[in-house]
């Protein structure tokens, strides 16, 4: 499989702060690639570099064969971007926003018309296409942005937190669009998220923390690293000791329940019931989540990590912007 994105030891510093610390990764064509990490981990910085909005301090990245630092126009023509914050002109209609995009990206007028029709149909906005965008809901705006990002048939679509602040229904709708895109149009999707359940939808995930890649693999393979399912039982007082002796494990108690890991949870439960049936009042099998993977890899949960160092980094970025550094 040929790679459409190749990133080689990319580093980006903002003053003393290292936002990206030697990031290397490859994304294959037609892949849905997820970039998972807490706020300030370096996700947006990576996207900005790949989208030519920011120059790397060191390292190299190519997209569709073009160097992002030295061939920005070729890269820009090859990508579509959907930002965290909306970037539509709300005074214009959906059609006008798309038309403007087509003009910027040199899409011929007749091609534009057929594409706009099918894209608006895809994001279910056909009957609102002549309404001013200011009358749209947040989810509609996001869908329109996705349609717009695809109008020039980009090889790679970047989605920076595409479902941030959207309701579950809209999130699901956007995901079905993203998958259809890959299947119908053959677009590679590079997305960032800090929603664990969302990352499950990706073909592969890179977990990033403090500017470093912690792991890159399929969601299933990452979860296998955890080493089995978690069993949660409750029962009588001596249960912990007896379970430990019987299966050679050390359950730990939390909120009146016992937690322990076993290799195959579904096959283990019948055994457990045969051995301790009368003494157990409830059993739960919890399959490992990406949350657990993240916890294991980084030593902290993905949320509640908005500590002072991250705020400092954001301030550093603000400062740097204020000084008017190029891009």
């Amino acid at each position: 499989m040929t790679n459409i994105i190749d990133v080689d030891t990319l580093t980006r510093k903002f003053g003393d702060l290292t936002a990206l610390d030697g990031v290397s990764l490859s994304v294959g064509a037609r892949e849905i690639f997820g970039f998972l990490g807490p706020n300030g981990a370096g996700k947006s910085t990576t996207i900005k570099i790949l989208a030519t909005l920011l120059k790397p301090t060191a390292g190299r990245a190519t997209l569709a064969g073009y160097d992002v630092a030295t061939q920005p126009n070729e890269v820009r023509q090859s990508i579509g971007l959907v930002f965290q914050d909306p970037s539509l002109d709300v005074r214009l209609t959906a059609d006008e926003n798309l038309k403007f995009h087509a003009m910027l990206y040199d899409v011929p007028a007749d091609v534009y018309r057929t594409r706009a029709d099918s894209l608006l149909r895809m994001v279910d906005l056909v009957d609102r296409r002549t309404s001013q965008v200011m009358t749209y809901s947040g989810g509609m705006k996001r869908r329109l942005e996705i349609a717009r990002g695809l109008l020039h048939h980009p090889k790679v679509l970047f989605l920076d937190e595409p479902t941030l602040g959207l309701d579950v229904q809209t999130r699901n709708a956007i995901w079905s669009h993203v998958k259809r895109l890959r299947d119908d149009v053959g677009t590679t999707v590079f997305m960032t998220t800090h929603y664990m359940d969302e990352a499950e939808n990706c073909d592969r995930i890179a977990i990033i923390d403090h500017g470093r890649i912690q792991a890159i693999d399929t969601p299933a393979a990452l979860k296998q690293q955890i080493g089995g399912d978690t069993i949660i039982v409750s029962g009588d007082a001596a249960l912990a000791e007896d379970l430990g002796a019987k299966y050679d494990l050390t359950p730990h108690a939390a909120a009146g329940q016992l937690h322990f890991q076993v290799a195959g949870g579904a096959a283990f439960v019948p055994r457990l019931m045969a051995d301790f049936g009368g003494r157990i009042t409830s059993v739960q099998i919890k399959q490992p989540s990406l949350e657990d993977v993240f916890l294991k890899l980084t030593g902290h949960a993905i949320r509640g990590e908005e500590g002072s160092s991250l705020d400092l980094m954001r301030q550093g970025i603000q400062l740097w912007r204020g000084q008017g550094g190029r891009r």
């Binding site: 930002f83 909306p86 970037s87 002109d89 910027l104 912007r321 008017g324």
Partner: protein, 274 residues
């Protein structure tokens, strides 16, 4: 050529977006009325403008009001860059595979075009100032007004490209736009001001735009009391209401427009998305 197509796209968007802003259009129609009907009449009756021969204050001020409207409308148009930055739309433009100069020039043309709607309104209500424009005068006013607003929109682009929030807009209005306007000779003749003020007025590019408009307007009014049909231009020049010839005015305004457009391109080249 790709760049010009982008310039056209930016221009089109600027004008479309403007056409949706009903409040702004309403203000645009209303404001010149206040200047001509209230301020012009008020000052005329409040002070004697008789020493200048047969030019009424309203006639004197009318080109100044055009200058004022071009300046304000254009600066406001250029400030849409800040608006676009705050609402994210600027990113859409900045990540597109387009040359930045074409965007900056498109902004300047867009701002100038929006200002032209204001110029047309002002021409329509010119009789309020005692001026009855003929076809030649209308064409000349439009041409000069376009040049002025292209220059001032470009000036706005220079500033707005580097500004990150609307809060700075007040500062720009107070310390740049108002001095530019007051020192342009729009409201009072330059010849009677103290030397320091006259020097500042001489370097204000808007001075030449307003003076040029005055040349155009006065040339088409024949003074009834001036005896044997002498154009107002002659009387106005004698009494110091006109400073330069139309040629000088046009040349300086054109130069300002070109230089400011270049500065706008340079500044927008350094603009950041957020």
């Amino acid at each position: 050529m790709k760049g010009l197509k982008v310039t056209y796209a930016i221009w089109l968007r600027e004008f479309l977006a403007f056409s949706r802003e009903k409040a702004r259009i309403f203000a645009m129609v209303g404001q010149p009325f206040f200047y001509l009907a209230i301020l012009g009449r008020g000052i005329t009756s409040g002070m004697s403008f008789t020493s200048t021969g047969s030019v009424t204050y309203s006639q004197f001020m009318y080109p100044g009001v055009i200058g004022l409207s071009m300046l304000f409308t254009s600066i406001f148009s250029a400030m849409s860059i800040i608006w676009d930055r705050e609402f994210g739309f600027l990113k859409e433009v900045l990540v597109a595979p387009v040359p930045r100069w074409s965007v900056a020039i498109g902004k300047s043309f867009g701002g100038a075009t929006v200002a032209m709607t204001q110029a047309v309104i002002l021409i329509v209500i010119a009789p309020l100032a005692g001026i009855w424009p003929g076809p030649v005068m209308i064409v000349e006013i439009i041409a000069l007004a376009f040049l002025i607003s292209f220059a001032t929109t470009s000036l706005g682009v220079v500033i707005a490209s580097r500004m990150s929030s609307m809060q700075g807009f007040q500062v720009v209005m107070n310390f740049l736009v108002l001095p530019l306007y007051f020192l342009s000779g729009a409201m009072f003749p330059m010849s009677k001001t103290p030397f320091w003020m006259r020097s500042l007025m001489a370097v204000d590019p808007l001075t030449y735009g307003v003076d040029g408009l005055r040349n155009v307007v006065f040339a088409h009014i024949v003074s009834p009391s001036g005896g044997r049909g002498i154009p107002l231009t002659v009387i106005a020049r004698q009494s110091g209401l006109l400073q330069h010839s139309l040629g000088v005015d046009v040349a300086v305004t054109l130069l300002a427009a070109v230089l400011l457009a270049m500065a706008g391109v340079w500044s927008f080249n350094k603009a950041q998305a957020a």
